[in-house]
């Protein structure tokens, strides 16, 4: 069984890594529901699971204590509490005694009803607890059904992680220190896993079919994010080739160093702004390291995903203030929360939808639940005096939505001034263009905003009618399709005519082949993952604007 296996997928994040694999199998909840179990045996098994999982969590807790990781310690504390909570314990014992079911089935049934109860409380902080309870009971069920439950929060050695895919919540909890590479069975270039990997500079390959059945826990694996391939149990030849490529990458990186602290200029000295995405305050350091011209897209919903709860006004204010102060007057574009779609959060209580990408999300959700939206707007306005803040609204389809959002912003601004709070009078307001309808009618939006930011991930998905997460139709997800480029051109034309500027904050802004075309189309601001800033800057410096305009024309009208 020492044969080398090569698999390929999508090149999601550049770089190359070689380390043992940590495989994350989804928990199998296909549990025996029969009612012919011996209650005495099952009660003992339940008690055993409580004991074992307690022991395990105590170990992880003391490891976290050594690292002074307060947040993780708190999670483990609440896990320990839940294990012996009477509401859980007594109900499970009753199920076992009265129904004659297995310990795991009783546990699953009880936990499902408790989680549902907590999630339905009119209190957003409770969903965090519900997630803890789910995590903990998952661990117990894994123990009872002899399933592995690898713990990524307790990683102690360098590893490459492999899974079907990670949810945004799981991603935000990953301890990136020891993660050298990421491989997933599902997802493409624009999946959340891919985006996170790029922003952290971790090599990643997504969409690797048959991955989990081909790889065993602990197998040595090479991940080649440049080629989009992986090698399981590599032989001497492959290891030699890994070392060679790794050396080349190190050399290339030192060459790009020259582009970290210089201005972003085209060959004919036209100034472009190359900013970075930001998902959490922890990434600020990275943004400075790679010399971004500003923050092109602060995805605020990730704040709430990371801790799985909504932040109150003061907590949000402190985050925005910190970001603005750290960036020292460089532009910081903050997008109001874009939840819904594939980013559903328990506290947001979005009803399950048949078609979430076309459902209640982005500004639609914010206008429907203004109580959350207003808190964010207040926090943003209060933070505005600490730097160069620009605010933009996601998923806008019609001018009416934009006007409504702006009137809420104006309302909160008036309220804050009445309360004696200071607000900058220099906040630029923008609209994200992600819906084809908005791109086609960009002209109408122009008089209500200061800038356009084209969210290409969704614009491509909606224009091509191809789900970006669906591997079966990924061939249709074409960033350079003339239909997409023409829509972008309509937006930049409308901007130019009305004295506005246009940025691009989708993943294609970091695609080195697409960058000259975007600039040729009239885009003057790009937002990319922090490690990509020097490369993109280097590409921009190679061409004059005229050259890029010709490239864009050719791409729009291929003969």
């Amino acid at each position: 069984m020492n044969k080398t296996i090569k698999l390929s997928g999508i090149s999601a994040s550049k770089g190359i890594a070689f380390a043992p694999i940590t495989k994350i199998q989804p928990l199998n909840l296909d549990i025996d529901e029969s009612a012919n179990h011996d209650p005495e045996v099952e009660l003992n098994r339940f008690a055993e699971a409580q004991k074992e999982v307690t022991k395990h969590i105590e170990t992880m807790k003391s490891a976290a204590a050594k690292l002074h990781d307060e947040w993780v310690i708190k999670i483990f504390d609440s896990h320990l509490f839940f294990i012996r909570d009477p509401a859980l314990q007594n109900n499970v014992i009753n199920e076992i005694k009265n129904e004659g079911v297995s310990a795991e089935w009783a546990l699953l049934k009880v936990r499902n009803s408790l989680v549902l109860m907590l999630e339905n409380l009119d209190d957003t902080t409770m969903s965090e607890r519900a997630a803890d309870l789910r995590d903990l009971t998952d661990r117990m069920i894994a123990f009872l059904t002899n399933q592995q439950w690898p713990d990524l929060s307790g990683l102690e050695e360098e590893t490459i992680i492999a899974a079907v895919d990670f949810s945004p919540l799981e991603i935000s909890k990953l301890d990136k220190k020891f993660i050298k590479g990421i491989i997933t069975e599902k997802g493409g270039y624009s999946s959340h896993t891919a985006i996170m990997a790029r922003s952290s500079g971790i090599p990643a390959v997504t969409g690797v079919m048959g991955l989990l059945s081909a790889v065993l826990q602990g197998d040595p694996v090479i991940v080649d994010g440049n080629k989009g391939s992986i090698v399981i149990k590599p032989g001497d030849e492959e290891i030699k080739s890994f070392k060679k490529i790794n050396n080349e990458i190190t050399k290339e990186n030192s060459r790009l160093k020259d582009f970290i602290n210089c201005k972003s200029l085209t060959k004919d000295k036209l100034s472009i702004s190359i900013g970075s995405h930001l998902g959490s305050v922890n990434e600020l350091e990275k943004i400075q390291t790679f010399g971004a011209d500003g923050i092109g897209l602060f995805r605020t919903e990730f704040l709430f995903m990371h801790e799985n709860r909504f932040f109150d006004e003061q907590q949000q204010f402190e985050v925005y203030q910190k970001v603005l102060e750290t960036m020292e007057g460089k532009p910081v574009i903050i997008r109001t929360m874009d939840i819904g779609g594939d980013k559903n959060l328990p506290w947001a209580k979005i009803e399950p939808e048949a078609n979430p990408s076309l459902g209640l999300r982005g500004i639609r959700y914010c206008l429907k639940r203004p109580e959350f939206f207003k808190i964010q707007l207040r926090a943003l306005l209060r933070a505005s005096i600490y730097g160069n803040l620009k605010i933009m609204f996601p998923m806008v389809s019609t001018v009416e939505e934009l006007i409504l959002a702006r009137s809420l912003l104006a309302e909160e601004s008036t309220n804050l001034k009445k309360e004696g709070k200071l607000i900058s009078d220099n906040i630029e307001i923008g609209v994200m263009i992600e819906v084809p309808a908005a791109a086609l009618c960009a002209e109408q939006f122009a008089s209500h905003v200061d800038f356009f930011s084209i969210g290409t991930n969704d614009l491509i998905q909606y224009t091509m009618a191809a789900d970006r997460m669906n591997d079966q139709v990924s061939y249709l997800y074409q960033p350079m399709h003339p239909a997409v480029l023409k829509l972008i051109k309509m937006v930049t034309d409308a901007a130019k005519k009305n004295g506005l500027w246009t940025g691009v904050c989708g993943e294609i802004a970091g695609d080195l082949e697409v960058v000259p075309i975007l600039i040729g189309l009239g885009v003057i601001e790009l937002s990319v993952a922090p490690p990509l800033v020097p490369e993109v800057r280097e590409v921009v410096s190679r061409f004059t604007f005229e050259e890029m305009r010709n490239m864009a024309k050719k791409a729009m009208y291929p003969c």
Binding site: F82, D85, A87, M117, L121, D123, T125, M126, R129, L133
Partner: protein
């Protein structure tokens, strides 16, 4: 012994204060129940206490049954009299 107590914590009776409450309640051998509105729950269950969703300034009724009731009640009352922010 039964007593009505007002919850001082700015965010109401959950997470942090509820955890401290349950810690103290679990050390007691007798019975402790907490009622709010129409609901009455086991004071030793964090999940049950959270299900009450008691807001800031909400008044809960605590009942302690067993030995040493007064000392225990005093302890629980102190826990609810703190703002944990």
């Amino acid at each position: 012994m039964t007593k009505e107590i007002c919850v001082i914590n700015r965010k109401g009776f959950h997470a942090r204060p509820a955890t401290v409450f349950v810690e103290a309640a679990s050390e007691y051998t007798g019975e402790i129940t907490v009622s709010y509105g129409k609901k009455k729950v086991n004071g030793k269950s964090l999940i049950a206490l959270m299900s009450l969703s008691v807001p800031h300034d909400g008044v809960v009724t605590i009942s302690v049954e067993g030995s040493d009731v007064e000392k225990t009640m005093k302890k629980l009352e102190n826990i609810l009299g703190i703002n944990y922010e």
